[in-house]
């Protein structure tokens, strides 16, 4: 079920054999038969040829795992999404407001949000991830306790907020006020960590599509996070995955929500600019 389509708005419209190549991506599959997901796209210019294509992790999975993501009923992540939808409508904290009291219907107010995070917050003067923004709402606007950065509540809320952006191209800004943080993330990406002396690039740029033991290495794209991981039978956040990767290099890992991982998230997200938001996806 592959077809060539225009990258942005009219992704559902098949343009077979038009020869238009410039702004194209490849739709690898559709969710529920009506949300086309671009799984291959020419790599962003800032990658400077390090990758020819940005490729979603979906492409590296077995057909049975892929199939679980193609229908929301078959995707176990939707259990967490449903629970988060209840939380969205529940008043929390001393202010007595719910998410919905300010943001209304998540499926309308959050359209496109997941596609542009992490992003610069002018008022705070910092790069914010979606999780930071959620915690900021909880503590500053709702008078509630912050959630654990990579805990189940946060993962479920990130998944819920991602839903109305599915199929939209990841479009993370890398210039202007975020440039220095982006550079920091890029440097981390190419820094070898741990006793195994592995950088992110060692596996995900130089060896994607190869096997590491029995794992089929992907490009480590994060357009699909949080993901429902079959191994954990639960949602895993981007920083949760980062922690696992750093630990696998036999290094002391950075903390979830640390400035280091925020910078890395910004950089890794930008490597997938143009891929569709897929979250919450299914991965082994």
């Amino acid at each position: 079920m592959k077809m060539t389509v225009l990258k942005s708005a009219i992704a559902g419209l098949a343009l077979v054999a038009t020869g238009v190549m410039a702004e194209e991506g490849t739709v690898g599959f559709e969710i529920n038969g009506d949300i086309p997901i671009v799984t291959r796209v020419p790599a962003a210019a800032h990658l400077d040829g390090a990758l020819s294509e940005a490729i979603s992790g979906w492409e590296y999975r077995d057909s049975s795992t892929q199939a679980m993501q193609m229908d929301d009923f078959d995707n176990p992540a939707m259990l967490a999404v449903e629970q988060a939808a209840e939380v969205w409508n529940t008043a929390m904290g001393t202010v007595g407001k719910s998410c919905a009291d300010c943001h209304g219907d998540v499926n309308e107010s959050m359209i496109g949000i997941r596609a542009t995070y992490p992003k610069w917050n002018e008022k705070a003067g910092e790069v914010r991830t979606l999780a930071m923004q959620v915690n900021n709402c909880l503590t500053e606007n709702m008078g509630a306790e912050a959630w654990k950065y990579d805990g189940a509540d946060m993962a479920a809320m990130e998944a819920l907020i991602s839903i109305p952006s599915r199929g939209m191209p990841v479009n993370v800004a890398i210039d202007g006020p975020v440039a220095s943080v982006w550079e920091q993330g890029k440097e981390m990406y190419y820094t070898r960590y741990g006793q195994l002396e592995l950088s992110c690039a060692s596996c995900h740029e130089l060896n994607y599509d190869n096997l590491i033991r029995a794992d089929h290495l992907s490009q480590g794209q994060i357009n699909a996070f949080p993901v429902y991981r079959l191994k954990d039978t639960g949602l895993v956040t981007t920083h949760g995955r980062f922690k696992g990767c750093v630990r696998d290099t036999r290094a002391e890992t950075f903390a979830a929500g640390s400035p280091e991982f925020v910078a890395l998230e910004l950089y890794v997200a930008s490597r997938g600019n143009g891929l569709s938001v897929e979250a919450p996806a299914v991965r082994p």
């Binding site: 999975r61 077995d62 057909s63 049975s64 795992t65 199939a67 679980m68 176990p76 590491i212 033991r213 029995a214 794992d215 079959l230 191994k231 039978t233 895993v236 949760g240 995955r241 922690k243 696992g244 990767c245 630990r247 696998d248 082994p284």
Partner: protein
């Protein structure tokens, strides 16, 4: 990993125990089969068992069973510590004697489905599923 001599001996002892395990598991599966069939002969054909050849993770392996005319279908994971997986009994309103679920496999092994047909006979199908153990935790 540096092993002392004692640890090496212990590992060897553990390995010989591990070799015994499949026989025990097979015996358990045989008990499950006997309980289901009452010792009746089990034929082939008329039942389809669909499972991936390679499961990316043994925690969630999709399995389909289909046995037109069956009254019930038992599914076994022969190599699991407890081979029983589930038994599907079809009621009068079942449109087809088929079902899909997701199961846990502790390692590479045979998955088996045995159907009890309306006439009291039994048929079976077996499929090997290789379970990969990924290198990447997290």
């Amino acid at each position: 990993m540096n092993l002392t001599r004692r640890e090496t001996v212990l590992l060897a002892a553990g390995a010989s125990v591990a070799v015994m395990v499949p026989f025990r598991a097979f015996a358990d599966a045989a008990e499950n089969i006997a309980a289901f069939t009452g010792g009746a002969a089990v034929g082939e054909g008329g039942i389809t068992l669909t499972a991936p050849e390679i499961a990316e993770n043994g925690n969630t392996v999709p399995v389909d069973v289909d046995a037109p005319g069956a009254v019930e279908i038992m599914v076994l994971a022969v190599g699991n510590p407890n081979p029983a997986v589930g038994t599907f009994k079809f009621g009068p309103l079942a449109a087809a004697q088929m079902a899909s679920t997701r199961i846990r496999l502790s390692k590479t092994q045979n998955v088996m489905a045995i159907a009890k047909m309306a006439d009291g006979s039994f048929v079976q199908a077996t499929k090997e599923v290789k379970v990969t153990i990924g290198g990447c935790g997290g």
